[in-house]
Amino acid sequence: MRSHPVGRVGAAAAAGTCLALLLTACGSGYGDTPEGDGALTVLFGSSGEAETAAVKAALAAWSEESGVPAEAIPAQDLVQQLRQGFAGGDPADVFYVSPDLFQQYAEGGSLYPYGDQIEDVDDFYPALRDSYTYEDELYCVPKDYNTHALVINTDLWEEAGLGDDDIPTSWEELAETAEQLTEGDRVGFALNGDYNSAGTFMLQAGGWFVNDDNTEATGDTPENLAALDYLTTGLDEGYFSFVKDIDAQSGSEALGRGRAAMVMDGGWVTGAFDNDYPELNWRAVELPEGPGGQATTVFSNCWGIAEASGDHEAAVDLVRYLTSPEQQQAFAEDFGAVPPRESLADWTAETFPEKAAFAAGVDYARGQVPVPGFMSVLNEFTTGMQGVAAGSAEPADVLAQLQRDGEEALGE
């Protein structure tokens, strides 16, 4: 009697659902041997539509040439999506990697080291190659770079009666000029206020978060204290400000909206100015020297290739194509990426004079801290800097904390 047709439907439904769940349970996890599917995926954090279009065009051109299909996947949140891809055992084949995450991925065996397969690898700036070298092996090659420079609103500059000779070349001059340009609710000089911007001043003072080979925390040094004291004085006097304290999200916004006359920011501001503040008259100059000499932070990404990718050969070929001088020139023209090759330095300076200051910094710059787990330390330091700006924390205490947290992260 059970064999009523509708009864079977119910039983089949129950059994079918179970089967679906069970099949799922038997699916393969990780440990799969990588297997090429004859196509590449490229995951990248795009700075905007121009970059997305340029990367897509470059991939299409390479596919045409090589016969290997390549898909561009713009990620909204690259860090998280990439990490989940690694953890899921199925990351994209090629992706952007930043120095702060590089070492963690290299150490974890997620990156395929291919630096020795790039023939003219010496052409890339040493400061950038250092950022992507782990245990003497170059894992990936840089795609572009940027450095912190001083960006000036030239209208306000001229209004204040300042000329080329007045461009600050020392900390003292920066403070004086900023004071001169401060008026009403406009500050003379604004900086982001995060660890990167404070870090640049620490470099100029001769300090930094860690020692040269990234093995020891060097948070509470007199040099770092000098940098923070310098910033604190400016903040207290009101001619320096962190951008968030003047209702801006970024240096470009602070300058574009006239909330600051000078800002410290990276070369990505050029795109923001073109899009959001086309009326703005601005120029970028190299940062003034600190007591420790000329210094700035360099920001970059490299083209990482996943160890788990099944198409290492094709992926390396793609990267070779994307980092060729011709393609880097195309990227520079399309979305303003500064080519990371020394042989293109003159071309860059001639073609993009407004970017010269950002490009020049690479000669004396240092890359972001690559120590795994250091991001939390730096975020805590950023919080401390906000306290300093608000007057509720002392620079020395913030640095002492930085030292303790840094030691903990480095396992000292």
């Binding site: 009523h4 509708v6 996890g29 713009p74």
Partner: protein, 293 residues
């Protein structure tokens, strides 16, 4: 007598006071509860600059459909595959809803009507599920999806959402209220357990099925955290997840509020339609669960 009239007068005054205060609260409340949605809609048809400068203005100046054109993918080579987002949202939502109806009603019927060894243990397990706070499951779910090899897949997005203790309890209660005689009659006619369930009882709990369906629809359309940890490939982004990543990602600083507000409106519209059509179910189910305790 005198007592009664004395009591009546404050009563009338009380009524008037309640009337005035009541409408005052309702008016203020309506502004507070609808206002954000109206501001949202108004600013989605402004230019970026206008929205930044006059966020309160309800009339755009100038009117700009730019954000909506982008939201529908009509403008420029866009980073955001809105069509894909909508498609994913729809597919996942429908799958979860159908799946839950089936899975929930099967176990709901078993718990309500079948005396089987281990039933109370099953019942206790389902109740325990209700007590597990969702956010502590983010990492665990990620781990299991990886291990099963269904990370970054529709299966990984849909199957975990089939755990739905609320729906099970709703349907179980509904099945319990079906008169037993109907089933007995069917059984007399020789129908087996499945036939009785499928043919006789299921049609009788239609209101509860509709309630579970709309709760599932609303829940999975709005789902965010599960999809966040279940996928990394943007090809699997739902509208909600894509929107969240757009707002939270490092590029979120690029403001573009009209676009974000337009997309937020787009994600609200299906739920709004379902809500307006079935609000009695929404409200009744919510009040039931609240009233019972």
């Amino acid at each position: 007598m005198a007592q009664a009239t004395r009591a009546a007068r404050p009563l009338v005054r009380g009524r008037a006071a309640i009337w005035v205060a009541g409408y005052a609260v309702l008016a203020v409340g309506t502004v507070l509860y609808l206002g954000p949605f109206i501001v949202q809609l108004a600013n989605s048809v402004k230019t970026d600059a206008d929205a930044a400068a006059n966020p309160l203005a309800l009339l755009p100046d100038p009117f700009s459909a730019h954000a909506w054109r982008r939201a529908f993918g009509l403008d420029t080579a866009l980073d955001m595959p809105i069509g894909r987002w909508l498609g994913n949202s729809l597919f996942v939502t429908v799958s979860v809803t159908v799946g839950r109806l089936l899975v929930d009603s099967l176990i709901g019927y078993a718990l309500a009507r079948l005396r089987f060894a281990g039933r109370s243990a099953v019942n206790a397990l389902v109740l325990a599920v209700l007590a597990v706070p969702g956010v502590v499951l983010l990492i665990p779910k990620f781990l299991v999806l990886k291990q099963l090899g269904i990370f970054d897949s529709y299966a990984g997005m849909i199957l975990p959402l089939l755990c739905d203790a609320v729906g099970i309890m709703l349907l179980k209660t509904a099945f319990e209220q079906v008169p037993r005689e109907l089933e007995e009659a069917a059984r007399m006619d020789g129908a087996g357990v499945f036939t009785t369930y499928w043919r006789v009882v299921l049609p009788l709990v239609r209101p509860a099925l509709i309630t579970v369906a709309i709760l599932s629809f609303q829940g999975s359309w709005n789902e965010f955290t599960h999809f966040l940890v279940a996928t990394s490939d943007p090809a699997y982004e739902t509208l909600n997840l894509g929107l969240a990543r757009l707002a939270a990602g490092p590029l979120g600083g690029a403001q573009q509020f009209p676009l974000k507000l337009a997309l937020a409106t787009l994600s609200t519209i299906p739920v709004l339609i379902v809500y307006l059509l079935f609000q009695r179910h929404f409200i009744a189910s919510q009040m039931n669960s609240g009233g019972k305790s």
